[in-house]
Symmetry: D2
């Protein structure tokens, strides 16, 4: 089986990571690589680490250049995927790494992103209850945001088992690649190195409603989410600390049992018994390292999750979801081995 | 006025920062520098950045070498300061950067640090209500922990004004110098760089009761604290994200007013109106950059504070407190200007 | 074909990288993992990124535990490999990542490392003229040092083509993982981050004679080498700047032609036409990115090479050499794709 | 004495560092702060670390806004200072941090920077023979480039004492702030962190002729310079490794004696006897840490120098030179104490 794929937005960080993974995927043949302003340039200018594709020339992102592929990955700014998907036809598998089709509530979409809601696609977080069924045979997939992936996986088992109150605090420490290759002063190396900084504080980050949606789905009730992203001086990685008040009688044994049960058969979720997750151990891998604990003094369950924002947080989830949609073994082309130190 | 000072533990990070600040303090003359295992070596081996003291030889940390100074700073492991202070006599100002005399509750001390409680000294966080009065003319000062400094300053105005419930979540992202010059594998550059990692999760970090004590003092009731420290790939800096449920009717205007009132005359506390705190802006300075917001959806007040863990978080607080105790202008030898980028 | 391998020194950085690569090698089965002081502990304590081997327990490094494997990789301190190799017998392929068998001159060995010379093994730098022939069917392989790999590959084509005088200057900027997991103060994250520092200046680094040996072999005459290593705040990567006086009439065209000819068929050597090598593009890959130029004003040929010190600089070279020795395709289990950004 | 100063280019990194130092200068009053595109904004938007000036509003860089100050510091792009200096009149001390007036040879200027040469100003490297005399009472000062400062100070004593041949190799590892706050993809944190990269290789960097000019002046003959800059993942700091062939009979004693003699009375130059320079020890200070050695095998003298590119490499040199020109003690407002770790 040879799956012919295209990547729209191949000059960006998400596009580069998709290509890195797809170069190692045994069933895939890499077709068109497209870009916006960088169309016409060699891929090596933007992705010098992808030697086998160094001399590929970026095409314009148009329906024509993307047509004729089995799978089209979209790594584009918000608001661009609906129109392209419409023209690609129902037989092409379209995997959208952008936000356009993640939220189920049209009002949420308009409030957080502005404009009209483009509809909801099957959600590419297979570890969420019910997600695999929706992804099987799907022709449209919405890849989750990187922060929602960490926060959701950190607390979903607690909500599934009814261990906590629906009142969540999440602080996620992220590397800078999550912001993409945007030329903004605060993303310059000179500003980033040696500094930790908050942004989008107070529930203003667009990933907030996506976290609430995911946890609410598992909890079966509305979950309030206080989410704060923090930028740390590293290129990759998200370390999520998430907590919620425990319900009466919930102790560490109950918490551990719930997480073990939830993730026993998950190929990419790794529960730690000792030590605490560190993002370096997940670099370039599709694994999530997690640990849960109950703080009896504070009355809270606290879970910490580490992942690579570009891999499991974006491109790895996209490939994992593609595998499911195409009926391939879910782990094809993906690794649980990080590059460390 | 010339104040003759000594520093015990001059080969460590806290000791080095004390000396950096004291070299710029106009009223101070630097006397004995002492160490444990490094006694007998030149200071330049350990603190190559302190050129004016490069050829000083470290003495052993004994009562003899420390005697005869107006002020003795102790940057020692836990459990060493009480005995030394007892022998130094009541006329010497002893400023303890360790934890021995911070906690007021003997039971807390025994639970968190083990052994017998050595008593409580005036607490070197002048911005805390009542602290300046206790520091004036003090002969013994307990310098706060670096995490408690950030967490306390982030939420004290909210508790002072009765804006929040006593149920606090704190996640603090710290540089590695907070762990001192300990030769532990997880502190090696190869492990730290490119990685964010949690530790002391679930209320097990020893700074937790100190945060609860400080906020409880301001709130006038017991405050529950869920505290998670996160190690980030930088040498210095702590970025604290702290939140608590808001009481009915509390909005951003009320929060802003409370913080402005609390910190209006504080020389080292800087409230931001736009942008968010970044630790780089505080590097080497005694300033704390703060911002507060109310997240109506989540029902929480969220405050973010940035500081330099070695300066305001340790050595700067020590010098600031010494200034108060000696009747000097509080800002002598301290700066609000960071070294950036 | 299933090759059963063992790794001695599996708890260190070189051992970890060997295992990372071998986990992705299709012909390999991972047998014994051994260590010194860490024997008896789980691999996950030392290598949390190697999830598939997390529960493996480290055995003691003895001839017994290493016996019965087709290939034994030694990632041990200097001076340990000869004795082990002697007991493993002539049919086992022993790949030594240490320095013991790299130098051909016994006097050089004694001068630089001390003690008696253990003999010379085929040298695991296949790109060096004649090296592949020596590696084919070899049962003993000496993996090159990480600095010599960069410096040799940077200048070998210039010497092979007679373009330069045998008077070489090399400055190599390295990440800290090259120093291994040694608990030394100058390798602590707090010291390393934000700092570049030289060490082993003035021809005192032990890799100096190895560079001179390699280039002398290609040049057919003695080559003088001034080598300076510089530590930079990153975990991985070596960026080598190497230069030598050009002989009369040598210009950029001659240099480019010589390098193209030398490396035309090399699967892991990538010549850049524009842009300059950056180590990030090689992270985790076995590729070397190079560019050469002639500075007419200074009268020197300057070559810059980037590689990952743990991959092509150590473990990747080991696997590449093993592939040759076993008659496997040379690139099996190795990649030219880096993990970036 | 109160010196009223203005800074043109106050929103950039060099401008920010000038202001950081001038805030601590006891004889200075800070007047106009000007900028180009950022005129009209608060300084805090660009320099959040300069709290005492947070609410200053940036004026346009015009002769009008700069007039009426005793000293005007120019931190502007190349080619802008001559016109401004002409209009400021001969009584204003103009200190140019740009390159316009560094090179003495008009042909060099045109070749390396293009356009017409604006003339040569007294050169702000007081440690260079004869420089202090030229700076005394000067009304125009050209601050050296950051790389030339390190390379010149590393080798000047060797040339002054006739120890080496005029054939120099320099590799300088620099933090990213040397490139200013330019919004270029290769300066983004995501690209910089974890990577060392060369640029301007082969004698193409514009600082090359300035290094040759300085060393040639000391040597009394033309000096050939092979210069390679390397970008490392840190904000500040330059570590320079410079070498040249030793003349017959030159050994380490001769080299050490020459350097001791040259720098015995220099307040900012610090010769190390053991250990090697690290940039972290110079952070924020005006000190240069140096060490020299002779490599008998390679036949070269090798000197390593560490400095802070924004302090001694730019703004510190500017303040030091201003002090000389105004007859103040040379070290006023400057420190040899770095901020570490």
């Amino acid at each position: 089986m040879t799956i012919r794929i295209a990547v729209a937005g191949a000059s960006g960080y998400a596009g580069g990571e998709l290509l890195r993974l797809l170069l190692g995927h045994p069933e895939v043949e890499i077709g068109a690589l497209t870009a916006g302003g960088s169309a016409g340039s060699r891929l090596a200018e933007h992705q010098p680490h992808l030697l086998p594709l160094a001399d590929r020339v970026l095409a314009e992102t148009t329906t024509d250049t993307l047509a004729g592929h089995d799978v089209v990955f979209l790594a584009l700014p918000h608001g661009h995927s609906a129109a392209i998907a419409a023209e690609l036809g129902p037989d092409t598998l379209v995997v959208d790494c952008g936000a356009d089709h993640r939220l189920t509530d049209a009002g949420d979409w308009t409030r957080w992103y502005g404009g009209e809601h483009a509809g909801t696609w099957p959600y590419g977080l297979p570890e969420l209850p019910g997600a695999r069924a929706a992804l099987a045979d799907a022709k449209r997939i919405a890849v989750p945001g990187c922060y929602p992936t960490g926060a959701t996986l950190a607390l979903a088992p607690a909500f599934a088992a009814g261990l906590v109150e629906p009142d969540v605090t999440v602080v996620s420490v992220s590397g800078t690649s999550g912001a993409g290759r945007s030329l903004k002063p605060h993303l310059l190396g000179s500003e980033v190195m040696g500094s930790a900084s908050a942004y989008g504080v107070g529930g203003t980050h667009r990933h907030t409603p996506e976290i609430a949606q995911n946890l609410g789905l598992v909890a079966g009730e509305r979950v309030r989410v206080s989410f704060t992203p923090v930028l740390a001086p590293m290129s990759r990685g998200i370390l999520t600390t998430a907590s919620a008040p425990v319900r009466p009688g919930v102790d560490i044994e109950a918490a551990t049992a719930a997480y073990r049960k939830a993730y026993a058969d998950e190929p990419f979720l790794h529960l730690l018994d000792d030590g605490w997750p560190a993002t370096a151990a997940t670099l370039g891998s599709n694994a999530v390292h997690l640990r849960v604990v109950v703080d009896a003094d504070a009355g809270r369950l606290v879970a910490v999750a580490a992942l690579d924002n570009l891999t499991k947080g974006t491109a790895g989830a996209a490939v994992q979801s593609m595998n499911i949609a195409l009926g391939l073994p879910e782990t094809t082309g993906l690794s649980t081995v990080g590059v460390a130190p």
